[in-house]
Structure formats: structure tokens, C-alpha cells
């Protein structure tokens, strides 16, 4: 279709665009390559089915914002289809008299799809632009007091505008070009849309229509050539970086179980992440996959209660830092500023409760929580800069083996008046029942331990407790970033486990659960660990315990983050709860339940220090429970229990509402 001059010009522009793209894309990949823990790109490429499946199915978007996900699917499929369209358009332009299967049914099908997808993409992108710029959807903004540069704020808007405009013009002018071709060559009812548009040109002279066709071709494809090199600076790179991120995903035992560092290794200068180049390559890749949709922020308990933390801002700041420093950074200069100055404030880092929702909800497989954990490691191990209360907790764990700093000889007090077998007497048992520190020292925690022991005794299962030989698993230390203290605690407990040949553990504390199961496995010691809700549920199913359906009150259930999102168990606790509810009573779910559960606020060390800003997270969650109208709240975690009881008092529901652990409810109704 094109003239010879045009063909030559096009080739020149392709070369130019390719050259420029080579520069920008290689900078992008070199920047990713600056990180630690090198990505094995061969393995990544081998993982292509995963990337393709995520891309084509669009399934990761449907975790939230359903309407947007539907429209985006349309745009994404349309855009993918346009890959073929662009190639065929180039051939049409460059090869004389080229037409794609003008009379074949495949050609017809092709043209119908082009028409349909053109409509879908145009409508979709216009909707997105309207949502951002006219409807000004508040989810797309990042509020005070989160650290986000003006540059990033303005950049996001500009980027959206540019990309939106690019797509509209690209697709739009392709549409105009198609209609011009129809105006010249006759109606094609396999392109109904373009045909209707062609009527606009019926009054134009032939030469003008030809001109229109050429112009449209140039704008449509020229924009591709112009934009392609720009993608590494735009969030639009998610097109391919998103699926790539999935293909490069790290297999973690649990969302917050990081790899174990060899702290004795003298050649290692840096533990944790203080600067961007200390992050693993995968996590720099995260910044390129980020679509800046803010879904992670929507679900973050810290952000939702007014803290400085927004996981979205974290990734966005990272991306803009890379954009602003791409040339130097990709060439190897070390970054000047520490992460706490531009990516995430220190207070924001401490505000994270490690609930894992941000990781769970991200449509492109980002892990902002992991970045935070690495930053904490740097703040604790390298900088010694962390909340004072956290320091006291470290000292208490180190000196007394529990975060409360209470006597290690008092760990068995909860067994007073009960027959609870000790490992030191039995020497071996099928299961170890691990009460944990809360289970040993906290009043309500002790109630839970006694309930679990009662159920264990009733079930006839062969078990024992360590009692005073238990020492803190080190969970709080690890999540706050004190790898050294965690490893010390782990080594100590592993020795005890070896002494008694322990292989299977039942525990009520989800934090102990994840640490014993996942983090100790990372240390090289494998254990089979189940949560008490799973154990009790099993026993009910097997009939070894027979709870009576005595309870007539409705209950609502609060899913613990470390049983739910981190461990994948949502049914067992509900099964346990149902086992004691009569036909008159039911479990009334809170709006945010199961994998959508809203954190109680105690995780990530926040149980011990509290970032006093905005609203208290536990109050936010408790109010949700209050709104169900139900008077009884069931939990399955010591920390959640403490948080809910606390919130109950502060919100003035001390008299009319009650909080129970599922084990207590069962133990009282055997």
C-alpha cells in the first residue's frame, strides 16, 4: 500500500526504534541484574506456560475489582490480538498488493475480531481514563502520610495519560485507516464498525481518502515505534513484565519465610536491604511489573488505618527511582540514598503486620511485604535502628526465652490441676503439643492451652509437652528483622526437638506454626506442624471427640492471617465451630472473611511495639465484628484473642460481647 519512499522511511524508523529500544530494554534488564540472588533466566523462560496462562486467563485480576478486571480482560485480549494485527498491517503496508486472506473464512473471522476488539479496547481505555481523570476514583490516589514523591504522583498521571492516549490513537487511527480502505474499496460487512465509519468519508475526494489511509497507517504504526522504546519507563511495561514476574516467581514456603542467611560469613558485607541494589533481582523486577493499581494498598491494614505504609507507594517509588536513575544504575553506580529515604519511611516499615494480603492480592505477583522484611533486617542488623519496645523484646527473648521477660520456670503453670504428660517423663510421643509463649504466660492464652490439652486428653492421642523446656520459636524476632536472635532461638529449640526425636507438632499459635513449619525447615530441620484447629477438626471427623451441639448463640469467626493466608486453612476452624453450634445458631461471616480477612494488627512484631498513628488496627477489625450484630467472636490465635479482647474493652463492648478461642468453645462442650 505504501509508496517506495514510505517503505524506506519505515525501515529507517524501525531501525531507529529498535536501536533505541535495545538501549532502554537492556538498561531495564541490567538494572534488574544489579540486584542480589541472580535470576536464572533459562529457568524463567522454561516457565513460559505459567506466564502465558496468567496473561491469557487474566485470572490474577479477578481477586478484586471485578468490573475493572472484566474490562481489563477485554483490553488485554484486544491488545494481544493487535500483535497479529500490527504484523499484518506492516505486511499490508510494505508488500505491494498484500491483502490478508480477503476471501477466506479465516480472513473474515480475523476482520470481525479486529472490529470487535477495536471497539472493546477503545471503550475499555476510555473507561479507564475516565475512571482516573473524571470520576477521580479515590483508590487510585495515595494519601498522606505515605511517603511518595511529587514526581511519582505527577508521573503516574502523566504516564496514564500518555499510555491511554497512545492506545486510543493507535487503535483509533487503525480503525480510521480500516474505514478509509473500505471507503476506497467497498463495504466489508465483516468489519461492521469500520464500514459505518467509512460513511463519514463518502463526501471526500479519492485522493484525500488515500491520504487518510496512509496517514492513519503511519500514526497507528508510528506510535508503536515511538512507544516501544518508552515502555521501560512506563507502567505499561507490565504487559510483558507482569507475566515474566510470574515466570520468575520464587517458591517460598510461606509468604513471610525468607531464605536463611549465613551470619557468620565474613565475606558478606550487607545483611538485609539498605539500598535498592541489596534487593534480590526478582524484587527489582517487581517494580517493572507493578501496574500501580493500588490493590495492595486497598487491603493493607496499616494503610487503611492511616499509617505511613502503603505497599503500592513502595513499588511505585521503587519504579520511579529506577526511572530517574536508570542509566547510571544500570551501568553499575551504587545508589546514593538508602531505601528509608525514598522507598519507604522507617516508620512505615515498622507499621507492617506481615498479614500477607498485599502479596496475595497483587495481580502481577509482586511481594512488597518481602521488601519490607528485608528493609527491617537492614535496620536491625546493620543500622541498629528500630523501636525501643522491640529492643526490649529482643533482650527478653534472649535472657528469658519469651517476649514478656517472665521466668522460664513458670512455663508449666498453665498445667496446674491438669494431667498433662511431659516429654521429659515420656521420652517420646507421636505428637508434641507446643503451647508457645502466649499459651504459657498470657491469661487468655493459658485458657486456650488448657482447652487444647483437655481435648488432647479426651482424644486419646499420644502426645507430650515440653513445658519449661520450651523456648520462644523466635517468630517475633525474625519478622522484626533480628535474624541473629531468631537463629539462636531456632538452634536451641532444634536441639531439644532432636533430643526427643520430635517429628510432629500441634500448636495453637499460628506464629509458632509458621516458624516451626517453614522457618525451621529453611534452617534445615523439617517438622510436620499442624494448627490446633486442624487437629481438632480431624478428631471431630474421626469421632475421637464428640462435641455436643449445645451452643445457641450466633458466632462470627475472625480468620488469623497466619492460619489463613499464610497457611491456607479456612475450613478447619469453621468445622470446629460448627461442631458445637446447635441448629438455632449459625456462623455469621464478616464482610472481610477467609482469604479476605482483615488483620487483627498484632503480627510483624506489632504486638510488642505499636506504631501510634491513625486508627488502631484491632479496633478497625473489631468494629467489623460488631457490625455483624453477633455478640460472640471466635478466634483461633492467641494474638488475635488478645487484640480482640483489648478492642472489646476500648470500644465499650466489655459487657455485651465475648471473645473465645475455638478450642475453648469445644472443650467446654465435650
Amino acid at each position: 500500500m505504501l509508496s517506495n519512499l514510505e517503505r524506506v522511511l519505515f525501515i529507517v524508523l524501525v531501525i531507529f526504534s529498535s536501536g533505541l529500544s535495545f538501549i532502554t530494554y537492556s538498561r531495564m534488564f541490567k538494572a534488574i541484574g544489579r540486584g542480589t540472588q541472580p535470576i536464572n533466566w533459562i529457568d524463567v523462560v522454561k516457565n513460559w506456560p505459567k506466564g502465558l496462562s496468567v496473561f491469557l486467563s487474566q485470572r490474577t485480576l479477578f481477586k478484586s475489582r471485578t468490573l475493572v478486571a472484566v474490562i481489563h480482560a477485554g483490553v488485554a485480549w484486544g491488545f494481544s490480538f493487535y500483535l497479529v494485527v500490527n504484523i499484518i498491517d506492516v505486511l499490508y503496508g510494505m508488500i505491494p498488493d498484500f491483502h490478508f486472506l480477503p476471501n477466506h473464512f479465516i480472513g473474515h473471522a480475523y476482520r470481525i475480531f479486529v472490529d470487535i476488539f477495536t471497539m472493546i479496547v477503545l471503550f475499555g481505555v476510555l473507561y479507564f481514563l475516565a475512571r482516573r481523570f473524571f470520576l477521580k476514583n479515590e483508590k487510585l490516589s495515595i494519601n498522606e502520610p505515605v511517603l511518595i514523591t511529587e514526581r511519582a504522583k505527577k508521573g503516574i498521571k502523566l504516564d496514564s495519560m500518555l499510555v491511554g492516549t497512545f492506545i486510543i490513537l493507535h487503535v483509533g487511527f487503525r480503525f480510521v485507516g480500516a474505514s478509509a480502505e473500505i471507503a476506497l474499496n467497498g463495504n466489508d460487512w465483516f468489519q461492521p464498525g469500520a464500514t459505518v465509519l467509512a460513511t463519514l468519508w463518502s463526501g471526500l475526494e479519492q485522493d484525500n481518502v488515500v491520504f487518510l489511509e496512509h496517514l492513519s497507517w503511519w500514526i497507528s504504526l508510528g506510535l508503536i515505534l515511538a512507544f516501544f522504546p518508552y515502555f521501560p519507563y512506563s507502567k505499561h511495561a507490565h504487559l510483558f513484565m507482569g507475566p515474566l514476574n510470574y515466570m520468575a516467581s520464587v517458591d517460598r514456603r510461606s509468604p513471610s519465610t525468607l531464605e536463611i542467611m549465613d551470619l557468620e560469613d565474613e565475606s558478606v558485607e550487607q545483611f538485609g536491604a539498605g539500598k535498592i541494589e541489596h534487593l534480590p533481582q526478582k524484587e527489582i523486577l517487581d517494580a517493572y511489573a507493578c501496574i500501580m493499581c493500588n490493590r495492595c494498598q486497598d487491603v493493607c491494614p496499616a494503610y487503611q488505618t492511616g499509617k505511613e505504609l502503603s505497599p503500592a507507594a513502595l513499588e511505585i517509588n521503587k519504579r520511579y527511582y529506577l526511572n530517574d536513575n536508570l542509566k547510571d544504575f544500570s551501568e553499575g553506580s551504587s545508589s546514593l540514598e538508602s531505601l528509608s529515604k525514598w522507598m519507604l519511611s522507617e516508620e512505615a516499615a515498622w507499621s507492617c503486620t506481615t498479614c500477607g494480603f498485599c502479596v496475595d492480592t497483587c495481580p502481577v505477583g509482586n511481594e512488597p511485604m518481602v521488601d519490607i522484611l528485608r528493609m527491617r533486617q537492614d535496620l536491625v542488623l546493620m543500622e541498629s535502628s528500630f523501636p525501643r519496645d522491640a529492643m526490649e523484646v529482643f533482650d527478653k527473648i534472649e535472657n528469658y526465652g519469651n517476649p514478656w521477660g517472665l521466668s522460664p520456670q513458670d512455663r508449666e503453670q498453665w498445667t496446674d490441676g491438669m494431667e498433662v504428660p511431659r516429654m521429659r517423663d515420656k521420652k517420646e510421643a507421636e505428637y508434641l503439643y507446643w503451647a508457645g509463649c502466649s499459651g504459657a504466660y498470657d491469661d487468655r492464652g493459658r485458657d486456650i492451652s488448657r482447652s487444647v490439652a483437655k481435648i488432647l486428653n479426651e482424644s486419646g492421642v499420644d502426645y507430650g509437652i515440653l513445658g519449661n523446656e520450651e523456648s520462644c520459636t523466635g517468630d517475633s524476632a525474625r519478622r522484626i528483622g533480628n535474624e541473629y536472635l531468631f537463629q539462636m532461638q531456632a538452634e536451641q529449640n532444634i536441639e531439644t526437638f532432636k533430643k526427643y526425636g520430635i517429628k510432629k507438632i500441634i500448636t495453637q499459635c499460628p506464629h509458632c506454626l509458621t516458624t516451626l513449619k517453614n522457618d525451621y525447615a529453611e534452617m534445615g530441620f523439617d517438622l510436620e506442624v499442624i494448627h490446633h484447629s486442624q487437629f481438632i477438626s480431624e478428631q471431630i471427623n474421626e469421632g475421637t471427640i464428640k462435641p455436643k451441639k449445645n451452643i445457641n448463640d450466633d458466632y462470627t469467626f475472625h480468620d488469623a492471617c497466619y492460619v489463613g493466608r499464610h497457611h491456607g486453612e479456612y475450613d478447619a476452624p469453621r468445622n470446629v465451630l460448627q461442631s458445637v453450634l446447635s441448629d438455632e445458631a449459625e456462623v455469621v461471616e464478616m464482610p472481610r472473611n477467609k482469604d479476605q480477612s482483615f488483620c487483627c494488627g498484632a503480627g510483624g512484631g506489632n504486638m510488642w511495639y505499636e506504631i501510634k498513628k491513625g486508627k488502631r488496627i484491632n479496633i478497625e477489625r473489631f468494629e467489623e465484628a460488631v457490625e455483624t450484630g453477633v455478640k460472640k467472636v471466635a478466634t483461633s490465635c492467641n494474638f488475635c484473642m488478645i487484640m480482640m479482647e483489648d478492642a472489646k474493652k476500648v470500644t465499650g463492648h466489655d459487657k455485651d460481647m465475648e471473645v473465645f478461642d475455638i478450642s475453648e468453645i469445644v472443650a467446654n462442650n465435650l
Binding site: D389, W404, G405, Y609
Partner: protein, 321 residues
């Protein structure tokens, strides 16, 4: 045996704790044959000696030396060392004040004789005194015997004896001179001053009145404040009170607040949750008033009252006045 009691100056009057030390000496003299000498020195030596003359003592030694007009640890240590060397005292009693903690160890070093500090009790056996002091944050008591023939420096904890028990009498004042080499006084001291009341420092408080959620609302805290005032103590609270904004965070006692160990901790309407308890369980005496007989605070309190703080506290304030 001869006992020397060193008098500390409280703006021209004998410091209460020195009076208590005299009571201790007088008690000993009831059980063991002894002579009690008191030492008055410093710029108000005359007044101190005069006041001492109304008590049942054997002798009052008075030093009027210009080198001792202002307190200095070296000056006082040198003076008392001389007095001890020139006399034959078996025991030298002091009140365990901050000043005594500052200079008496120096006397111990000079004489190479032990200083038994901060005792709460005494008993006599075999013609010598056995002293008792608190150890391990007052969790355990230790008895210490004094059977050597040399002099023992001894100080007593505040209120281990009561100045109410002083026996009156009369005694002669004897002026003595001592030599003090001024070059030996190594420190220079400025006048003591008080700091403007900024921030609540509970860690050094002897008496604390503490409120919990049971106080109900912000306005009710005034009764606790009044009680604290009447007792000469400080006001503190558990966490929920601070969270509700009724008191500023520096009042908070607990695992994420201050840790306190006063002589008396009066817990009003505090349930005794562990987060609070870890911050005050070191208190020497815990008195708890709570409506709920099952409140965990009663597990760690020394004295418990199941009752209504709004009935009891106002009456308590009245009786203390």
C-alpha cells in the same frame, strides 16, 4: 560499745533519717550496753547539735570547720575518718540518704572497713549486731553479722525506724577541732536546684497511685490525683487510660510504658492484665482496690480490697488529711 550516729543537715534541722538512725542506736542501747555519740557538722552544726541535745544520748560532738560549710564528699569523709580514728567506735550509723551513698564508701576505703548499706532490721547476738537488708530487688533478705573487732559503717533504709520512737533526755555538746587539708577536696559543688516539672518520672517515685479502666472517665481521675497528693506520691495509669486520652503517655506503667518499683503502689480499678503487671510487680507493697473479686491484680497484690473506689478513695483522702 560505742556507737556514733552522724547527723545529716536538712536546712538547719536534723534530717528525718538521721533521727531514725538515732532511734536505731537507742534501741541497741536497750539490749547491749552502749554509749551513743552523735556528730554534728557543716554550716548548721550549731543548730543540729542544739536539736540533738533534747534526745537521750551520751555525747554530742560538734565540728565548726569552714572547710565543711559546703558539702563535699572528700571533706565529710576526711572529717569523719578522723573522728573515727581518734575514738573507739564499734558502729557508725547513718541514714541511707543520697548524700551518705556519695561519701561513706570513701570512708570505707580509707579505713578498709565494711559499709553495710541500706539495712531494714537489726538484731543482737553475742554482743554484736546482725543487720538485715533487702536483696535481689527486695525478693530476698540477707542477714549480715558483724563479729569483727573493727568499726562497721552502717546505714538504714528510710522508715525502718520511726522518729516517733525517739527517747528524750539531755546531753552535753562538745566542740572539737579537726584538720582538713583543703587540697584533698577534689570536687567543686554548685547549689542544689530543682528542675521544672516536665514529664512524669515514675521510676524514682516512692508512692504511686495508679488508675485503670475502672476509673470510668476522665473526670474521675481527679480523685486519684487528690489521693496521690495526700500521700505525697505520683499518679500513673495502665494503658487503656492513656489510650483513651485521659492521661498523657508518660503516666503509663506497663510493658510498653514505664517500669516502677515504689514502696507503695496503689492500684485503683486496675484489672491486672499481664501487660500492666510486668511494669509494676517490683513494687514493694501493692494495694489493690477493685470491684471484681476475680481480678488478676489480686494475685500479685499484698493487700486487697474488693470494693467501690468512688466510695473508698474520698474517705481515704479525708483520713489522711
Amino acid at each position: 560499745m560505742n556507737i556514733l550516729v552522724v547527723l545529716e543537715d536538712n536546712n538547719g534541722a536534723i534530717h528525718r533519717m538521721s533521727l531514725e538512725a538515732i532511734v536505731a542506736a537507742q534501741e541497741i542501747s536497750l539490749k547491749l550496753k552502749s554509749n551513743i555519740t552523735v556528730l554534728a557538722m557543716g554550716k548548721n552544726a550549731d543548730a543540729l547539735a542544739l536539736e540533738a541535745s533534747k534526745y537521750e544520748l551520751n555525747e554530742i560532738l560538734k565540728i565548726n570547720s569552714s572547710s565543711l560549710n559546703g558539702y563535699s564528699s572528700d571533706g565529710y569523709a576526711i572529717a569523719i575518718e578522723q573522728i573515727i580514728l581518734e575514738n573507739d567506735f564499734r558502729y557508725v550509723f547513718f541514714g541511707h540518704t543520697y548524700q551518705v551513698r556519695d561519701y561513706v564508701p570513701k570512708i570505707s576505703a580509707k579505713l578498709m572497713r565494711p559499709f553495710l548499706a541500706d539495712n531494714i532490721k537489726m538484731s543482737t547476738s553475742d554482743g554484736s549486731i546482725e543487720f538485715t537488708k533487702q536483696t535481689f530487688n527486695a525478693k530476698l533478705l540477707a542477714d549480715i553479722q558483724t563479729s569483727d573487732s573493727g568499726v562497721y559503717l552502717v546505714s538504714f533504709q528510710s522508715a525502718s525506724f520511726s522518729s516517733d520512737d525517739l527517747r528524750s533526755g539531755s546531753s552535753e555538746i562538745k566542740k572539737i577541732d579537726i584538720e582538713i587539708d583543703e587540697t584533698q577536696i577534689k570536687n567543686t559543688y554548685e547549689e542544689p536546684f530543682q528542675e521544672s516539672a516536665g514529664g512524669v518520672d515514675l521510676t524514682s517515685a516512692d508512692i504511686i497511685v495508679s488508675v485503670g479502666r475502672g476509673i470510668g472517665e476522665a473526670d474521675n481521675i481527679s480523685i486519684a490525683k487528690d489521693l496521690a497528693l495526700a500521700l505525697g506520691g505520683q499518679l500513673s495509669s495502665s494503658r487503656p487510660v492513656v489510650d483513651a486520652g485521659w492521661l498523657s503517655p508518660d503516666h503509663q506503667v506497663g510493658s510498653s510504658g514505664q517500669s516502677v518499683s515504689p514502696k507503695l503502689y496503689l492500684a485503683l480499678g486496675i484489672s491486672g492484665a499481664i501487660q500492666h503487671v510486668v511494669g509494676m510487680k517490683g513494687s514493694k507493697n501493692i494495694v489493690a482496690i477493685n470491684k471484681d473479686p476475680e481480678a488478676p491484680i489480686f494475685e500479685i497484690a499484698n493487700y486487697g480490697i474488693v470494693g467501690d473506689i468512688f466510695e473508698i478513695v474520698p474517705k481515704l483522702i479525708e483520713s489522711l488529711k
